[in-house]
Symmetry: C2
């Protein structure tokens, strides 16, 4: 049982901000599942503040908001992924799948063949 | 003048270690250019120790060493990228180019069209 040998991180930039990337996509999934930013943050092991900031960046980088919140008690009320957000997320997942498939060609095969299954022990003292 | 809208990071894992990724590939290029780990580290704005550790990981993750060092004074003598290392680097760059090309399809076009050129101002207080 070894971890996946190839990891591809796709980041979409809006100016200097990351409009969409692996962490933000997972956060959208978690918000869709749990219906609030605080519950999504908890599931992902991140602070409410960090999750809120990621949502804020996403909502400022696209033509429409990806997440809508409803006012509530401490740490916000409910939150949901908008239809627009759902479309963006689906296209990002498509892009991940497309690149995951595209990656497994000749260059990757050569690299895989040249790599060890596990690192050798370090020589460092 | 805006930064590239799409950034793809490809990481190849050997067990739990990253055998090759954007930073390690750039370090190999710098070692090839400068002929020593310390000069390469300086160019990249990283400590000698960090560069040495990255080289150590690379040399432990592949069937042959990617970098060879020759003993010298403080902070090592010379270093060079081996023929094997050069091949691994070239295949990694090929993989980057292949995915860069593959990325610019339908999903990316839809995402680009839905993204703003610059983020809107934050609402946060």
């Amino acid at each position: 049982m070894e971890p996946p040998a190839l990891k591809i991180r796709i980041q979409l930039y809006c100016g200097a901000e990351i409009a969409m990337g692996p962490g933000k996509a997972d956060l959208l999934d978690a918000i869709a599942d749990h219906g609030s930013i605080s519950a999504a943050a908890r599931t992902m092991g991140m602070s409410y503040r960090r999750a809120w900031l990621l949502v804020d960046v996403m909502n400022r980088c696209w033509q429409n908001p990806l997440v809508e919140t409803t006012p509530g008690s401490a740490h916000g009320g409910g939150a949901r992924v908008t239809a627009f957000g759902d479309t963006v997320l689906r296209q990002y997942r498509n892009l991940q799948n497309e690149l995951g498939t595209a990656a497994h060609g000749k260059s990757y095969s050569s690299l895989s063949a040249a790599m060890l299954d596990e690192p050798k022990a370090s020589q460092k003292k």
